[in-house]
């Protein structure tokens, strides 16, 4: 049985259907690249999974727990427990500007998981080292480059010890020369078999790192497959058009 199961997921804003009938599965350790043009619903899909948007119908099962079952959400406490298995990295980093890098990492765990400060600091140093920023622990985010800020944001998400990491266009706000360092960190996570869902415009990342690629168009997944299938032998007309424009 799949680790994440999404069945007939629906989402609409009023009469506008942004996600029509989304079905896919994710295995533990999968890196799912979600590609497609703007407005195809890829970010909305990710945001639905972590309860930043309300789902209007369908079933999402994560591990043995339902995030939503046949359009019915569980109790708020149960919902929080399910979403706490996931971490999210945003396009605009969303670090806390009034906190140092170290504080950005330890504050949420200390508040949410009631971790004591020493343990949190230990973990914080470990994760900053992992993203190559251990020397920035006392620095405020505004003194960091975009790439460094995004690496801090990844470390902050990892502090919560998530089973799944969601990335919403993690390199779209970065200068081209800074995307590499962020993608590098993500490659390392993939190598450690972290389950990741990545909405991205980085076709090379999707091709090289993803285990599975979902192509979205008009609120639906119109084609899904391995990177080889999608990039070398796309079947759907829309996929072909998109890739012809994206991979030049």
């Amino acid at each position: 049985m799949a680790f994440i199961q999404v069945e007939e997921l629906k989402k609409s804003y009023g009469s506008l259907e942004v996600l029509k009938n989304v079905n896919f599965t994710v295995e533990k350790g999968d890196v799912i690249a979600i590609i497609g043009s703007s407005g195809s619903g890829k970010s909305t899909l990710l945001r639905c999974l972590i309860e930043l948007e309300t789902i209007n119908g369908g079933t999402v099962k994560i591990g043995d727990d339902y995030l939503i079952k046949d359009g019915q959400y569980p109790t708020p406490a149960e919902l929080k427990r399910v979403t706490s298995k996931m971490g999210m990295v945003f396009q605009n980093f969303n670090l806390f500007p009034h906190k140092t890098v170290g504080e950005n990492l330890i504050l949420p765990t200390m508040l949410v998981k009631k971790t004591d400060k020493d343990t949190a600091m230990q973990n914080c140093r470990l994760l900053l080292k992992k993203v190559g920023l251990e020397d920035k622990i006392d620095v405020y985010p505004k003194y960091l480059s975009g790439g460094q800020q995004q690496r801090v944001a990844i470390a902050r998400a990892l502090m919560q010890n998530p089973e799944i990491l969601l990335f919403d266009e993690p390199t779209s706000a970065l200068d081209p020369q800074l995307t590499g360092e962020v993608l590098g960190v993500m490659r390392n996570l993939a190598a450690e078999r972290m389950t990741m869902l990545v909405v991205t415009h980085e076709m090379s990342f999707a091709r090289d790192v993803a285990t599975k690629v979902l192509f979205m168009h008009g609120g639906e997944i119109v084609e899904a497959g391995t990177p080889e299938q999608i990039f070398n032998n796309p079947q759907n007309e829309k996929t072909k058009q998109f890739l012809a424009a994206a991979v030049r």
Partner: protein, 216 residues
């Protein structure tokens, strides 16, 4: 214009300095927390409370402070003359606190609006509760954003204390006017202006220092 006269006038005006400073400090200390409280009410779920604060801010921002001052002092004393009498100083402090808390409520509300929604989303995906989000992430940033406007209000407040003149609380302007009329010499007005300027210079430096301290 000789120096001894200026010194003499300054000494006379400084008798009113106490009243000015007292009102300034009292109003600032009371209206900032009250204004902040009203901002919190504007975000609460109980609609009638929000309406109440909205009407309060609407009225107090939309009418002159001088009028409010007169209503509180003369108006209340007229209406309730059989029951009690409000002292001039009390009436003035009350009117100023009412007025300034309305302004501070608006300033803090603006500060909240300036905070990116990504901050709320980050807190949510990290599992933080709404209360934790507000206390640790939103409100500290709100104060930082609002600080320049708070400084601005404080400077306006120094100058507004001159309105005490209208209810005959003896402050700087009161003594300046008396001296000018007595001596038929406008030196006292100039001295009064200089005193206000010095006060505002000191407060500006002080608030800039606080702003710098809050910078991140």
């Amino acid at each position: 214009m000789d120096f001894t006269y200026i010194m003499q006038v300054t000494k006379a005006l400084m008798e009113g300095f106490g009243a000015t400073l007292w009102l300034f400090v009292l109003v600032l200390v009371l209206s900032i927390p009250i204004g902040f409280l009203m901002t919190l009410i504007l975000r609460c779920k109980i609609a009638p409370l929000r309406w109440l604060v909205n009407v309060y801010v609407y009225v107090l921002r939309g009418t002159p402070l001088l009028l409010q001052l007169m209503v509180v002092y003369f108006g209340i004393n007229l209406a309730f003359s059989d029951y009690f009498h409000i002292k001039r100083e009390t009436a003035a402090a009350l009117a100023f606190v009412l007025n300034y808390s309305a302004y501070f409520a608006e300033i803090f509300r603006g500060g909240l609006l300036a905070i990116d929604k990504g901050q709320y989303e980050a807190c949510k995906v990290l599992g933080m509760s709404k209360l934790q989000t507000n206390i640790h992430v939103i409100i500290p940033q709100m104060f930082r954003v609002a600080m320049p406007s708070v400084t601005n209000e404080a400077i306006t407040l120094v100058k507004d204390t001159a309105l005490l003149y209208a209810v005959s609380v003896p402050e700087i302007l009161h003594y300046a006017k008396a001296t000018v009329v007595r001596d038929s010499d406008m030196t006292a007005f100039v001295v009064a202006g200089v005193i206000y300027l010095i006060m505002n210079t000191v407060f500006t430096l002080l608030f800039t220092k606080i702003e710098k301290k809050m910078a991140y």
